[in-house]
Every structure is written in C-alpha cells, then in structure tokens.
Amino acid sequence: MLPPFQLDQAINRLVREEWGRILASLIKSVGSMQLAEDVLQDAVEAALVQWNEQGIPESPTAWLLKTARNKAIDHLRRRTRFKQLQPELSYLLDLQGQVEADGDELSEIPDKRLELLFTCAHPALDQKTRVALTLRAVGGLSTEEIARAFLDKPSAMAQRLVRARHKLAAAGIAYEVPSVEKLPDRVSGVLAVIYFIFNEGYSATSGEQLTRHSLSDEAIRLARVLNSLMPEHTETAGLLALMLLHDSRRGTRQNAVGGVVPLEHQDRARWNHHMIDEGITLLKVTLPKAQVGPYQLQAAISAVHAEASTWQMTDWMQIAALYEVLHQIQPSPFTLGE
C-alpha cells in the first residue's frame, strides 16, 4: 500500500479526473447541483479516511457515486420527514430504487457531462460565472484553484458558485442538452467558455506559472470531452485543434529571461510534435465536412505554421488565403493586419 501522502495524492488526482462525470450523473439522480456537490464532497472526505485504512477499492468511481447517492438519500429523507415536498419525495424513491438495483454490481455510469457543460454555460448566468461553474462542476477544480485563476478571494468565489447553483435551481434551469434550434448558439456559448479558460491559462493576470498551465490543460481536456460527446459539431474539433496547436509551442514562447519569443524565432525542434500531429489529424478529419467556422480556420492557419520546418519555408500563400476566408466570416483588426 502507498504511504499516506502518496495515497492522498493518488486519491485527489483520481477525484479530480472523475469529478465531472460523477457529479453530472449525481445531478440527474438527485435533481439539484448544490445537493450533488455537497454529497459528493462528503463522499470524497469519507474516501480519504476509508481508503487510507482499507486501500483504494476496485472501482473507486462507483464507490464514490454509490456513497454520494446514499448520503443524498439520507439528506432527502431528513427533509421529507419535515416537509412533504412532492418533487423531492419522488427523487428519493427513484434514488432508493437505483441504489438497490446497483447492489454489488458496478453498473455503467452514464455520461451526463454534455448536459452539465450546457447548463454551466447557460446564458442566464454571466460570463465569469459560466467559466467558474464549468471549472468547478465539469473540471473538478477546487474553489481555491478557481479563485486563484481569477485573482479573487476564495470566499468570494465560493459565494459566486453557491449563488449560481441557487439560480439554476430557483429559476428552473433544466439540466439538458438544448433543443435542435437552440443548439448552434448554445454550443458557441460552451466553446466560448472553454476558449476563455484556455486564454486565461496564458494571461499574465491569472497568477503563478503552475495555475496558468493547468488552466490551458483543463480547457483542452474539456474540449476533448465535448468533442467526444458531440463529434458532429465541427467547431468543437476546430477549437480543440486550435488549442493543441497553440499549446504545442508553449515551451518556446519565452526565452531564459522571460522575454517573449515571437513565432519567427521559436526553436521548432522544441515544439510538441505529438500535439501538432493530433491537431493536424483533427483538421484533416474535420475540414472535409465543409462546415467551416472561425475556430477551424484559425487552427488551419496555426497548422500551416506548424508544418513549416522554418519561418522562411512557411506557405504564406495558404495563410493569406485562410485569413481571407476568416475575414469574411469574422472581420477583425487582426485579420486585416495580416
């Protein structure tokens, strides 16, 4: 068995990795994000004690989900005893049924993260709240980590998240994938949240080095989740490719004294070629679908740079052509300048 500190680290890593998936499934079961958040937190705390004593169980994710569901049952039972709340009563009965059905079998935990992503990015929440809630609920980042990223006090960030969950419940915002007519706009909203997180990872305002890198990694991870759940939406793949290609140059952007090294002078041997390959492969699969958008185009421009072995060898004609198309879709000072 691992020594306690390493065990805690392993547990925390696992929790962070699985948090979004477990929470999303829990919300469906218990009907409230705040309750789901509370009981999952409790379950994690119980895990830290119990797994230290007995080792990590065979299926830690199922353990956490089952423990959280049981805590939710206790909570709902206590509340229902004192006030006959019809919706909560039915959740309680459903939940008990689910837990009984699980038994000792490790049932497949359905992936409800798509619903969760859309809910966190709902237009009824302001932009900063959308970003913070996505990082917490889907990304599993702690409130402290998110506060650091925004240079907020942890208590202020905690309040923001509580208010957001309260609004979701009080205003009756449903946990579902939006209808077909609304989907294009709403997906744009989710992509904007993810891209914001990515850019925060590069922004000078988001605190220490460590936080910055993990934010961009988190954005890439969220885009992967979204892309795997909605592969037909080409701009998701476009954004993922864009972020991968941008991030592939991370190691070469700064010189030894912290100065900015422009693309022209970056050491291309130190670009992350796995990420470049992944980004380019994504584009090769996505562009032929002919549903082009700004993220795909920006990714394509980045790909042309990535494919050139030197600055001089860059296919400038292609880049110019891509900027032309980009300008038509999304005119901006940046595209004019090129």
Binding site: G172, A174, P178, K182
Partner: protein, 118 residues
Amino acid sequence: MQYMCLIYSVENQGPQPGSEAFGEYIQAYQAFTKLCLDNGVMKSGDALQPVSTATTVTLENNGKLEVTDGPFAETKEQLGGYYLLDCKDLDEALDYAAKIPTAQHGRVEVRPVVVWDN
C-alpha cells in the same frame, strides 16, 4: 413553475397610438395572448396605464407615510405591463418572453415566482 415577465420600455418609443404601426402592435399582443392561452401557459397579463398615472407610497422614512406623484424611480425605461406564465423551465419562459411584442424595442425581465413550502 410560474414566471413573471415584466415588460420595460422607454414610454414614447415604439409604436404610438394613432399610427398604423400601433394597430399592428395591438394585434401582435392579441396574438401573443392567444398563443399563451392556447398553449395553457397563460396565468394572467395586463397592460399598465402610462407612468403619468402612477402614484408611489412608502413609510421608509421613519414610518412616516409618504405619497408621491410618479413611479418608484425616474428611469428611462419604465414598467409597461406584465404576463404571468406557467412554464416547465426557464428556457420555455424565455422563449415566450422573446415573443412579447415590446421586446422588439424594449426589454422583458423574466423572474420565477416564489414557491412557498406548505
């Protein structure tokens, strides 16, 4: 869930009484009300008379009764009417709110009504 849709606009903007556009505006409201009734979401709704007819009451200054001519605040946009709609979730309420004719030139605030525990 019940949602209050509070309709705000600048009073002399939008179609004015007497104009042709006003006739269409009224018809649009009638169509909207019918839509809500047909879909079973309509709880109530009314236009309010202009802000010039408003009177405000308060006892906020040491319990002293104060009656003032005018609305609660002198804002550019004023409350002009409301609908109370029974919808399954916020998105449904927002869909209806967007169809309220005044939303074309004004703004509609959508707020859930408190559900009291018995």
